[in-house]
């Protein structure tokens, strides 16, 4: 940084480690960042399920058995809530990043977010349908 030489005694505040508890908006931000851990949890779970399927019915049944434990169910429900919060806040932010114009018409924010939600529901529906019928 190229500061002038005329003020050698500036006061510089250092950011405290718990800076994020000073404002509600910062707490909400940190909480949202932490929900990424839940996304990582489901990603790892997906890899484990894939490996178990590849290893055969016994490995798959063992994994399903361990996931049925009340502690794992509680963790998964908690993670599901965190992932839903992360996804909803993500889709709500999407109009901020996307400015869509159709000729002279600017697509309203609600339609952009709505489109994201629609895609989310359709893709989730297809996966659920494939799982149920497969």
């Amino acid at each position: 940084m190229s500061y002038t030489l005329h003020h050698p005694k500036w006061h510089r505040d250092s950011k405290p480690i718990f800076w994020w508890i000073l404002r509600w908006a910062y707490i909400r931000f940190i909480f949202r960042e932490l929900t990424s851990v839940a996304i990582a949890y489901f990603a790892v779970l997906l890899v484990l399920i894939y490996r178990a399927v590849q290893s055969g019915p016994e490995a798959y049944a063992a994994l399903m058995g361990s996931l049925a434990h009340p502690v794992m169910i509680t963790i998964s429900l908690f993670a599901l809530g965190a992932v839903l919060y992360h996804s909803i806040t993500w889709f709500n932010l999407s109009p901020k990043a996307m400015v869509v114009r159709l000729g002279r018409f600017r697509v309203p924010d609600l339609m952009i977010a709505g489109g994201n939600y629609a895609a989310w529901f359709v893709i989730s529906g297809i996966i659920a349908w494939a799982y149920v019928t497969g």
Partner: protein
């Protein structure tokens, strides 16, 4: 008339290393903003108090400070909003303090200059060809971002800038985007090369407080997210072009 207490942070480098708070009692007038109260202190109570101000009408962006922990323009903060007080007044966060409420803004000015906030043309259009024409829709694309008054409140609200001084910061990025979206400008690639990195657009973690505190509703957070989308599209394009060759 009732009074209200102002707790003002004083930093007098010639007397001590650490800042301290000094209390002043000022009249709680309905038509006074915090800046009026500071002017009252300066004129009638303590002439040594230092702070910046100029227009008194939310245009110059000089009188930003932390009022009860939130970065605001002191000319737009009515005393009655904080009654019964006390009101805690500190210099803008994340900037080095020169004296009392005066901060050094050189870092912001350097960063602003680096994003080239002006219309860049590859070749200048001769005057004989007339003016650049712009439709209301084209103007609408960047008008919001052009409202920035460089008050730097967004830098004080941004924890990323507080933690990583290399971050270009909200206002400079919003102003870069203001010119990127201007159809007269041809400097998008030049700015992208400078800003599509860990110190530029990708350092923003979208806390969103920059937009909350902006007195002109510029929405720097929105500008940066749009910039990120353009940056990602550019990256994909370059990847495809490289593979195609």
């Amino acid at each position: 008339m009732p009074n209200i207490t102002l707790e003002v942070q004083r930093y007098l480098p010639e007397y001590g290393e650490e800042p301290m708070f000094q209390e002043y009692e000022v009249p709680l007038r309905e038509d006074w903003v915090v800046l009026d109260a500071l002017n009252h202190i300066k004129d009638h109570i303590d002439g040594t108090l230092s702070y910046r101000w100029s227009c008194r009408m939310g245009v110059c962006g000089s009188c930003g400070m932390m009022i009860n922990g939130t970065p605001v323009l002191s000319c737009a903060a009515f005393l009655t909003s904080y009654a019964p007080g006390p009101i805690r007044i500190e210099p803008m966060a994340h900037f080095p303090v020169v004296r009392d409420l005066v901060v050094d803004v050189t870092d912001f000015v350097d960063k602003l200059k680096a994003v080239k906030p002006w219309v860049i043309r590859e070749t200048e259009k001769p005057l004989a060809e007339g003016e650049f024409r712009q439709t209301p829709e084209e103007l609408d694309d960047f008008k919001q971002f052009s409202m920035c008054i460089n008050c730097m409140l967004c830098y004080s609200a941004c924890p990323v800038y507080g933690l990583e001084k290399e971050f270009t910061g909200p206002a400079a990025l919003a102003l870069a985007q203001r010119y990127n979206k201007d159809n007269r400008d041809e400097g998008n690639d030049e700015r992208m090369q400078h800003l599509s990195n860990d110190e530029g657009i990708w350092a923003c973690t979208m806390v969103g407080e920059c937009s909350e505190v902006c007195p002109k509703h510029v929405d720097p957070a929105g500008a940066i997210q749009q910039y990120k989308l353009a940056g990602a599209a550019d990256w994909w394009k370059s990847l495809i072009t490289r593979k195609g060759t």
